[in-house]
């Protein structure tokens, strides 16, 4: 094929398109990157959403994840038959569940495990395990266990290894025979903690009879999980289970939606879906706007060419389509880069999920629907951005288009009083009048940069929020060093026993009581914490860390709980105690506390004793200890049968920081990256458009004897002004966006403090100003290369 013929395959108009795009490649790339940032967010969030949802659905279905969970103190096996007979129940597994202390040699502080019984000769009918490696336990081998994968990996264990565990006061060596996962424990947090800690907390599945024997539960159970037939009324089933289990110390049945692991996964899914739509939309709007500005300018320069094309007989549609393709080409580049970037970031985030959530397989996949959605949204944004500019340019009659565009009209700014004008100086006046000539464009630039500020601020605000959470929770509210939980409630003697342990400086006993709290038909299960009149360690604090005084009578509820129950101070609630002789009492709500925990309720400890009609009975204790003795104290606590668990604050805070750091570093990196892209894209385009419109003017100034620095000041001053005006607006956007995210996390499990520090705001401002300076400097380089002679010869 001759060369010429091959070349003709691309139409001349398309070749023009390619060369025009090439001529404005830096600007086109800057716009494409903003598009790419939006697409990347969309792909990242929604692909993660779809990967996580598909994985969860398959996993839950294959492993027959329970619909209802209930526990009791001890119920005989025949009761399980009664529950199975409830209409709507399709399968049931009655189990023994207990929390025990592990004596892992590598830790000073005791670790703990949840023991869950499984049948040795068959798979559980509900909450079946996924066996990753090793084998199932064998009947008659009482010390064989399956261990949860997270725990095994975190502690570098393998089948065949032995773990020493204190079970009902006796030290036993359990042998890991297999590594397993359960839909019930996709997400686990150690009792009393806020975040997962796979090193210090694991799930161990053990032979039903062996576990029952160890806890004096032969012929009985203390936990039941069940699946329901499709369409079975969950509420009715739960009510009937509660009635059946009540005589056996039932602690109230909960539906799947309130189960911690499932709730966490669901919450993550709903956040992914919300942000996967909201954030990309912001980016695409910004992209559409800068595309519009850039294209309007490019088309103004193309006026003579448009006229020539019309004179040659091209119609408006053909020319319009030609320039529309210009926008689509930039959008398409953005989509391609965005999908790549989104897939990369999505893989990183799935990696993060895999360290929180334990699924048999959680792979990152970009579903075709997400790709189509990203392309569609971008196409829409590009069309919206291009259409106005294209229509305006094409509508001009050819003869008029041949003539240069009418000279720019300027006015004095309304606020330019003689005094102000003198203060401004000539450069200042030029900057101001240029902005006033295109007020909409200036406003849009400001909004664009403000979004960048907001995106960056959100990331930084949350790092500070974590620090604030640690400060409030671990230093203001809980000032003890060690939290001890007893296996069974103990009397005051236990306090003296604890005081005699090595390194213990002071002891504050704790009483908490499991209750069902009710107001009308609304109810929740939780523990009421008894607080001494003069608390030394455990104080009630609001979310800003301010201590709240507890009234001597009545119950104080967290704001979240009060909202769930629909009560206010002065109202009464019903407390159905789920232990001891199970009293039923009407108690007045005497206060609310706006705290960071989800559902919590507090009472004066003597009032709580009175309610329980008991003496000085305690369920745990808070210790102040000598740090030098903590190693010996830990060994003693591990060996104390009455102690179910001991949490050392130092270890908890360290693990909290570590977990949050992994999460936050990635989030901040992503936010910083995207905020820079927006800020750079907006400022760079504004600068390039200004430069193109005013290169002649700036060159004239150079000819008149102005230095490079002086003309840079005029061009860059405009960008600096836009950026400075954007900062306070960005602060408002950032604050609102943070508040929206905080309220989306606001849940019954925990709440996040909205804590916008000056440091976070200052860093966000500095980051954006940095991005603006970089794009300013890039444009300044072009200013230095301004061809003085050539520019004066052209009549624009």
């Amino acid at each position: 094929m001759p060369d010429a013929e091959r070349r003709m395959r691309i139409s001349p108009l398309n070749r023009k398109l390619l060369r025009d795009l090439w001529a404005m490649k830096a600007q086109a790339l800057a716009i494409a990157m903003v598009v790419a940032a939006g697409v990347a967010m969309y792909v990242m969030y929604l692909s993660n959403f779809s990967s996580l949802r598909a994985t969860r659905d398959t996993y839950y279905e294959r492993q027959r994840f329970a619909d209802v969970f209930a526990s009791a103190k001890r119920a005989p096996m025949r009761v399980a038959t009664d529950i199975a007979a409830i209409p709507g129940v399709s399968a049931l597994e009655a189990r023994v569940v207990a929390t025990v202390t592990l004596d892992l040699p590598q830790f000073d502080e005791p670790a703990s495990a949840r023991l869950v019984s499984i049948p040795p000769d068959r798979r559980p009918r509900v909450n079946d395990l996924f066996l990753r490696s090793g084998r199932w336990i064998e009947r008659g081998h009482a010390d064989e266990v399956l261990a949860s994968e997270g725990f095994v990996i975190a502690n570098n264990l393998k089948p065949g290894d032995r773990i020493p565990a204190v079970i009902n006061g006796r030290l036993r060596r359990l042998t890991i025979v297999g590594v397993a996962l359960s839909p019930e424990f996709v997400y686990t947090i150690p009792p009393g903690d806020l975040v997962p800690d796979d090193k210090r907390f694991g799930i161990l599945w053990m032979d039903q009879q062996a576990l029952a024997a160890a806890f004096d539960m032969e012929g009985g159970f203390n936990d039941v999980v069940l699946t329901l037939a499709a369409g079975a009324p969950v509420g009715d089933v739960i009510a009937r289970i509660d009635r059946i289990l009540e005589p056996y110390g039932g602690r109230g049945a909960i539906p799947r939606a309130l189960q911690l692991s499932n709730w966490t996964v669901e919450n993550e899914l709903s956040q992914l879906q919300t942000f996967g739509f909201m954030l990309p939309l912001i980016f695409l709007l910004v992209a559409a706007f800068i595309l519009n500005v850039a294209l309007t300018r490019a088309l103004a320069l193309q006026r003579p060419q448009i006229a020539a094309l019309k004179a040659l007989g091209y119609d408006n549609v053909a020319i319009g389509w030609h320039y529309l393709k210009w926008a689509f080409a930039i959008g398409a580049a953005g989509v391609l880069i965005g999908i790549g970037l989104g897939a990369l970031l999505g893989t990183l985030i799935i990696g993060l999920y895999n360290s929180f959530f334990r699924f048999p397989v959680l792979l990152f996949r970009v579903p075709p629907s997400v790709v189509v959605g990203a392309a569609g949204m971008t196409l829409a944004a590009a069309s919206a951005g291009a259409l106005g500019a294209v229509v305006r340019a094409v509508r001009v009659p050819p003869a008029e288009a041949m003539r240069p565009e009418v000279p720019a009209r300027y006015r004095r700014a309304i606020f330019e009083t003689p005094i102000v004008a003198r203060q401004l100086g000539t450069a200042g006046r030029m900057v101001l009048r240029n902005l006033m000539r295109h007020p909409l464009r200036a406003a849009a630039s400001i909004v664009g940069i403000a979004f960048a500020v907001a995106v960056l601020m959100v990331g930084l605000v949350f790092t500070d929020a974590i620090e604030q959470l640690i400060q409030t929770q671990f230093w203001e509210a809980e000032r003890q060093d060690v939290t001890v939980t007893f296996v069974e409630p103990r009397d005051a003697e236990a306090r003296h026993a604890l005081e005699r342990l090595p390194g213990v400086i002071a002891v504050e006993p704790q009483r908490s009581v499991a209750v069902r709290i009710r107001s009308g038909h609304r109810e929740r299960y939780l523990s009421i914490t008894g607080v001494p009149a003069q608390p030394r360690f455990k104080r009630i604090v609001d979310r800003n860390g301010r201590p709240v005084r507890l009234p001597p009578s009545g119950v104080v509820l967290s704001l979240t709980l009060a909202n769930v129950l629909g009560v206010q101070p002065g109202d009464t609630v019903t407390l159905e105690v789920l232990e001891g002789h199970r009293p039923n009492r009407q108690v007045q709500v005497t206060g609310l506390v706006d705290d960071i925990l989800g559902l919590s309720a507090y009472m004066d400890v003597s009032a709580l004793h009175q309610l329980m009609r008991e003496g000085d009975v305690y369920t745990g204790a808070l210790l102040l200890v000598d740090a030098n003795e903590s190693h010996r104290l830990s060994s003693e606590l591990k060996a104390t049968p009455a102690v179910a668990g001991a949490g050392f604050k130092r270890a908890i805070v360290a693990s909290f920081r570590e977990t949050m750091a992994a999460n936050m570093n990635l989030t901040i990196f992503v936010n910083l990256l995207f905020a820079s892209i927006i800020a750079f894209g907006v400022v760079y385009n504004a600068a390039r458009v200004s430069l193109s419109e005013r290169s002649r003017e700036l060159a004239s100034l150079r000819v008149l004897g102005f230095t490079r620095a002086e003309i840079s000041l005029i061009l860059l001053g405009e960008l600096a002004l836009l950026t400075l005006l954007a900062l306070p607006i960005g602060w408002i956007f950032g604050y609102s966006l943070s508040a929206a995210i905080v309220s989306s996390i606001d849940s019954e499990v925990y709440r996040f403090p909205l804590y916008v520090t000056r440091r976070a705001v200052a860093n966000a401002f500095l980051g954006i100003m940095g991005a603006a300076v970089v794009s300013g400097l890039l444009v300044r380089r072009r200013l230095d290369r301004l061809d003085l002679v050539a520019v004066l010869k052209i009549r624009e």
Binding site: Y410, R429, N434, R437, E697, S700, V703, L704, G705, V789
Partner: protein, 235 residues
């Protein structure tokens, strides 16, 4: 002849236009005296704009020497040329090159702000008979008025030399005459050396010295004793 303000010796300028070499100036030598009104005449491509740009410090020659008084412009760096333009040169262009966002007076002030002993902007505008329109923006002025603002802007700093590249090229006859009149007055009243590029031979009649260029060389130099006023020119 008066003391030379500029001495140009063996000036040559070669442009590379893609793969073609264009000899814009070939061995040009001439002198411009203090206070003279000089007209550079020549067809398109004769090299007159290149000569003007080099004298004005906007461009550097390929070889040869340009002396402004004792200063060798061909040895000056970018910063020195900027300072030279700032202090000594006033430019007037065919397309005025006013700053559209500044009023007439502000356009003049633009230059007086960075000069050492400028005349007040209203005075410069009065000199070109535009005192009344000082608060108008360029878009509110006619072409001739814009060019007179450009002249006011150029002379407000009291430059040693006023360089005008086709100052009437974009104007009709009657407007052109008003502009030329402004130039003649500046030359007469301030004694500013004025160099006007044109391809309109009629303008030569108002000059002290007429330099003709053709094909990058000086083809003739004519010193005139009888100057006509712009109103007497016949186009």
């Amino acid at each position: 002849m008066a003391t030379p303000l500029f001495s140009v010796r063996d000036l040559a300028k070669v442009y590379r236009m893609g793969e073609v070499e264009v000899h814009a100036l070939r061995q040009v030598s001439l002198q411009l005296g203090e206070g003279q009104f000089v007209v550079l005449l020549g067809p398109s491509g004769s090299g007159k704009s290149t000569l003007l740009n080099i004298i004005g410090g906007l461009d550097v020659p390929t070889s040869g020497q340009v002396l402004y008084r004792d200063e060798d412009l061909t040895q000056a760096d970018e910063a020195a040329l900027t300072a030279y333009r700032r202090r000594h040169v006033g430019f007037v262009f065919q397309f005025y090159n006013l700053i559209p966002s500044l009023t007439a007076e502000e356009n003049v002030a633009l230059v007086t702000e960075i000069s050492e002993a400028p005349m007040p902007p209203p005075e410069a505008l009065a000199l070109v008979k535009l005192g009344e329109r000082r608060d108008h923006f360029p878009a509110q002025l006619s072409g001739g008025e814009q060019q007179r603002v450009a002249i006011a802007r150029a002379i407000a700093k009291r430059p040693s030399v006023l360089l005008c590249d086709e100052p009437t090229g974009a104007l009709d006859i009657s407007t052109g005459i008003v502009v030329l009149d402004a130039l003649a007055r500046v030359n007469a009243e301030l004694g500013t050396t004025t160099v006007v590029i044109t391809h309109n031979a009629a303008i030569a009649s108002m000059a002290d010295r007429v330099i003709r260029l053709a094909d990058g060389r000086v083809s003739s130099v004519e010193d005139r004793t009888e100057k006509l006023s712009p109103q007497e020119l016949s186009w």
